[in-house]
């Protein structure tokens, strides 16, 4: 337990640090850029894995790749309808998500709540973790402060911290990626 003052904390007394009680969802990569390249990637994926069919649908984009059984050729279909792509407005602490290659087989630790991100339990303490550190499942990675409460965010896996995606003392929204962990790495 430790106390900490946030930017708007004049009225605050003794905030609590809570253990992680949330399960973070994993962010997915969006189809952006050249479609031909993406379809090719899917076809390669299909072949490598000896799949017969692969379908992907998210936010109005549907991709379907099919390999006829006993037949060499593959069927691919993409359906896109995206007039309503989210326009980036100035939101607090915008973080561009990691690119597709980076996230391959990586685990993302996302913020389960809206609040303020802190890398250390108090201003004069050391950060919980640094990039390159090896962490254990259940190990505290950071704190997200919300409503004067300090919520400890724990790692969901064993692995190595590849990247810290949020900046200490800055606000984070629900689902925002905080850490990228390589679960295959060993010390």
């Amino acid at each position: 337990m430790s106390t900490r003052r946030s930017a708007r904390s004049k009225k605050k007394t003794r905030p609590l640090i809570l253990p992680n009680a949330f399960g973070g969802p994993e962010p997915e990569t969006l189809l952006t850029g050249g479609q031909t390249k993406q379809i090719q990637d899917l076809i390669d994926l299909l072949r490598r894995n000896n799949l017969t069919e692969l379908e992907l649908e998210r936010q109005g984009v549907r991709i379907r790749v099919r390999l006829e059984v006993g037949v060499k050729p593959v069927t691919a279909s993409v359906q896109e309808s995206v007039p309503s792509t989210p326009q980036q407005t100035s939101h607090p602490a915008t973080t561009t998500g990691p690119s597709a290659e980076e996230t391959t087989a990586m685990v993302t630790i996302a913020s389960p709540i809206v609040g303020t991100f802190y890398r250390s339990p108090s201003p004069d303490a050391d950060p919980y973790v640094e990039e390159g550190d090896f962490v254990k499942k259940g190990q505290v990675l950071c704190i997200v402060e919300a409503m004067k409460l300090m919520n400890e965010i724990e790692s969901e896996v064993d692995g190595r911290i590849v990247k810290i995606l949020a900046e200490s003392t800055k606000s984070v929204e629900y689902g925002q990626a905080l850490f990228l962990i390589d679960p295959k790495a060993t010390p």
Partner: protein, 446 residues
């Protein structure tokens, strides 16, 4: 005046509030669930914060996340819209306690009016007409029977914490009362977490008439005339209009005066709506006070020229009322059709992607909607996707405009209630204004 406001809502009402803020020079923060990241209300705001997963209870109704979003963006005030946290006294209270202005009535107002039986009591004490009914919450079946026999059958059992038709039961004779009482209690408990119920006389073909009121922090209250919301399906309003074809100038003054007195009795602040039943003999009875901006507020705006959302914000910021009762002039007639993403015959929700969206325009037509071509109607929230509002010099012109605008409205990819509205507008009884809250059931049955 506020510098920055967070809108704790989504869809058309969030966009409506953002527009008002922009016109007042106030910066805006949108909140959204993961399902709404690409929504128009999010892009329209200056800032945005994702507050949770698609489920409303974990996002739009998630008080810690909504308040954290308000804190990290440094807003002065929160506008709750309607639904979600708008009538949550606890939320309003927490806002007050952390120094963020809740744009709406006080938490005490919400709590008091949220207890429907209590609200009736307060109003009745002032000598104002309330629907004959039990004096307060019913404690037992015997209590219910006694009350019902005193006022006469049929009666309607309602949840004290209720709204939207949940926890309601109509009872025609004493023998049915016991079962209905228990069913209403159970439904009230599961829906509102509060099993309290009360009963009232049940009117056979009443009109639903409501009066818009504005109240400042000094206790000055004015009303902006009535809205006739008799076209309902299962207590869900579908078409609203003002002025009501059943209300003349004399009745308007009288019902307006009662509405003003009722909210004065409760020391009410900000905007609100006083709901009445109007029976066939033009007797009216107080039902309840809605402590939020209503879905159908635009029709009052069209005939008065007064921007109700701006008034809400000004009043919340402590400005006194800028309009006196005698300055309120009602110009012409206005009507609203609620366009829902539903099958127009079976009323089954029809979520999905809107492949083409083209809203009507021109003179006397207003559309309040956050939809657009390519938008996805998600299944997690209310099915209302647009409000089509007409205005004309008289009811005739207003209806003619509504008809041609319904014909122009193109929404493809999902089913909507547009065809139903078109049929309602062709109904001779509707055209003559001969309607009651039972109109739609009979209309749909025929």
């Amino acid at each position: 005046m506020f510098k920055k406001v967070l809108i704790a809502n989504r869809g058309e009402i969030a966009l409506r509030v953002i527009r008002a803020c922009k016109e007042l020079g106030i910066r805006t923060v949108a909140i959204h669930s993961e399902a709404d990241a690409a929504s128009l209300h999010v892009r329209a705001a200056d800032e945005k914060v994702c507050v949770g997963p698609p489920e409303a209870a974990l996002s739009y109704r998630n008080i810690p996340n909504v308040l954290s979003a308000a804190e990290i963006t440094g807003v002065d005030a929160i506008h709750p819209g309607y639904g979600f946290l708008s009538e949550n006294a606890h939320f309003a209270e927490v806002c007050e306690s952390i120094g963020i202005k809740f744009i709406g009535p006080t938490s005490e107002n919400i709590a008091m009016m949220g207890d429907k039986a209590k609200a009736r009591e307060i109003v009745a004490k002032r000598g104002l007409p309330v629907t004959p009914g039990s004096p307060g919450e019913l404690r037992s079946e015997e209590d219910a029977l006694q009350a019902a026999q005193k006022i006469g059958f049929p009666v309607i059992i309602k949840a004290t914490a209720g709204g939207g038709g949940r926890g309601m039961r109509v009872v025609n004779k004493a023998g049915d009362l016991g079962r209905a009482f228990q069913a209403a209690q159970a439904e009230a408990k599961s829906t509102f977490g509060n099993e309290g119920v009360y009963l009232e006389r049940y009117f056979l073909e009443p009109r639903h008439i409501e009066v818009q009121i504005l109240a400042d922090h000094r206790g000055h209250v004015i009303h902006l005339g009535e809205r006739d919301c008799s076209i309902q399906r299962r207590h869900q309003k579908l078409v609203e209009e003002t002025p009501s074809p059943a209300v003349d100038e004399k009745l308007r003054r009288e019902i307006g005066r009662v509405a003003v007195e009722a909210v004065k009795a409760a020391q009410y602040r900000n905007v609100g709506t006083v709901e009445f039943l109007l029976d066939k003999d033009r007797n009216f009875f107080f039902m309840e006070v809605n402590t939020r901006i209503q879905v159908e507020h635009p029709i009052t705006e069209m005939v008065t020229g007064i921007d109700l959302i701006k008034e809400q914000i000004r009043l919340a910021a402590g400005h006194p009322l800028s309009i006196r009762q005698q300055d309120v002039v009602l110009n012409g007639h206005s009507m609203e059709c609620r366009i829902n993403a539903e099958d127009p015959e079976k009323f089954i929700p029809s979520p999905g992607q809107i492949t083409k969206y083209s809203a009507p325009g021109g003179f006397g037509i207003r559309v309040d909607s956050a939809m657009e071509s390519g938008a996805i109607v998600v299944p997690h929230y209310d099915s209302m996707i647009a409000k089509l509002i007409s205005h004309g010099r008289d009811r005739q012109e207003s209806m003619a405009r509504m008809r041609r605008a319904l014909d122009e409205f193109v929404i493809e990819g999902i089913k909507t209630t547009i065809p139903l509205h078109r049929r309602i507008l062709d109904d001779p009884d509707f055209q003559k204004g001969h309607v009651s809250t039972t109109f739609l059931d009979r209309f749909l049955a025929s």
